[in-house]
């Protein structure tokens, strides 16, 4: 019988509890947080483009990762609507233990907004929290050639090619931006990802999902961004 550890369930409960704790204990502060500050600074403060360094580093150091960029609007240094686009890739060839080859390359898309949590919204550095809705449609090759039946000793070529899959998920994001000089910022963020809906083939659940990471009910990831104000 298959047994799965309940790590993902525990993480979900912990994250939801912490979010509720933060929300409940600072309800009054939250109202202030969401209210647009009244000052002489205009509403539209420009765009910023950014690209992530963690995904390419993972691609260099492991068999899966992402190239990801984002375009973010700055509304009064407080609200930051954002679109993120990336290409996720996994290429594990002939795993040394299981002999399985897993390949996929596909784009993914996220849309959402960040909120500047700093008391002084117009400071050069920012602490922010945000939400994202994300989607990807991808094809997977899962192959295991020469799979040997341990009892009957027959061999077979196992797997599928071009299996069509898709996934929708949302993300809760917390991060910081630090101004380095001129229009250049550096920042990191931590993302809690929660799967909403997924469609996968008959062979079983896929392993790596572009933009989401290793397939599970939920996932935690981090980005390190180079950000340029336009």
């Amino acid at each position: 019988m298959k047994q799965r550890p309940n790590i993902s369930t525990s993480i979900s409960r912990l994250v939801i509890s912490l979010v509720l704790l933060v929300v409940a204990s600072s309800a009054h502060a939250q109202l202030k947080l969401f209210r647009m500050e009244k000052d002489s600074i205009p509403l539209f403060r420009g765009f910023a483009v950014s690209f992530d360094l963690v995904g390419p580093a993972m691609l260099m150091l492991s068999d899966h990762g992402e190239y990801e960029g984002a375009l973010r609007l700055n509304l009064h240094d407080q609200w930051f609507p954002i679109v993120e686009i990336g290409i996720g890739k996994a290429n594990r060839e002939n795993d040394e233990v299981t002999g399985i080859t897993y390949k996929t390359t596909a784009p993914y898309f996220r849309i959402g907004a960040d909120l500047n949590l700093m008391k002084n919204k117009h400071a050069a550095n920012r602490l922010y929290g945000g939400l994202r809705y994300a989607f990807t449609s991808y094809k997977v090759d899962i192959l295991r050639n020469g799979l040997k039946d341990p009892v009957w000793l027959t061999t077979s070529d196992f797997g599928v090619e071009g299996m069509k899959c898709s996934m929708h998920w949302f993300e809760v994001v917390f991060g910081i931006d630090a101004k380095i000089f001129g229009p250049l910022h550096l920042g990191w963020n931590v993302r809690y990802k929660r799967r909403i809906h997924h469609k996968e083939g008959d062979i079983g659940e896929t392993w790596y999902v572009p933009g989401f990471g290793v397939n599970d009910k939920d996932q935690i990831a981090a980005n390190f961004n180079v950000i340029i104000d336009i």
């Binding site: 019988m1 298959k2 047994q3 799965r4 550890p5 790590i7 993480i11 912990l14 994250v15 912490l18 979010v19 704790l21 933060v22 204990s25 600072s26 594990r92 795993d95 233990v97 299981t98 002999g99 399985i100 897993y102 949590l117 602490l127 929290g129 899962i142 295991r144 799979l147 039946d149 009892v151 009957w152 000793l153 027959t154 077979s156 196992f158 797997g159 599928v160 917390f174 931590v190 809690y192 008959d202 062979i203 079983g204 659940e205 896929t206 392993w207 599970d216 935690i220 990831a221 981090a222």
Partner: protein
């Protein structure tokens, strides 16, 4: 602010944990339940049962070795053969040996769990038949064969032996 930093720190620590969700027993088995003609549970009280099969290299492999005192037992199922042939041998306390052959037909479906877990096949049982020296009849109870071997896939009715 302190709470937010605490949350982010906790999330990073938890995110550092990884697990591989491979099935505990990465094998796909069929479960056989022994029943009497009236539908009650039968038990190999004093008799012993062995099951063998012929491998691709024409050697005989023992799948079940002289079990006794059992009402249910597990037998592996082949990955990709369209039909498995199993040789059941029942030995009673008087030294009489009864041998039957069971043929089970199935559809085979590749199953993927993770790149870190061994590939396997799931199956859908389509037909079962046997010779009738000691086996009275054998029927499919649950045609779906996967890691969830919680209910009997076959009901095996042996002839009266005592």
């Amino acid at each position: 602010m302190r709470k937010i930093i605490l949350f982010v720190f906790t999330a990073i620590v938890i995110g550092a944990c990884t697990s591989i969700d491979c099935p505990v027993q990465n094998s796909v088995y069929t479960v056989y339940g022994l029943l009497k003609a009236n539908g009650t549970t039968d038990t190999l009280t004093v008799d012993s049962l062995s099951v063998t099969t012929l491998r691709a290299n024409q050697t005989v492999d023992t799948l079940l070795d002289r079990i006794t005192g059992k009402s249910t037992f597990d037998i592996p199922i082949s990955y990709t053969q369209p039909e498995d042939t199993l040789f059941f041998t029942l030995l009673d306390t008087l030294g009489n040996s009864y041998r039957d052959t069971v043929y089970l037909k199935k559809d085979n479906y590749p199953h993927f769990e993770s790149v870190d877990c061994q590939a396997s096949y799931f199956h859908r049982l389509t037909d079962v038949r046997s010779t009738h020296h000691i086996i009275d009849s054998i029927v499919i109870n649950n045609p779906t064969v996967n890691y969830e071997a919680t209910s009997e896939h076959f009901y095996l009715y042996l002839k009266a032996r005592y």
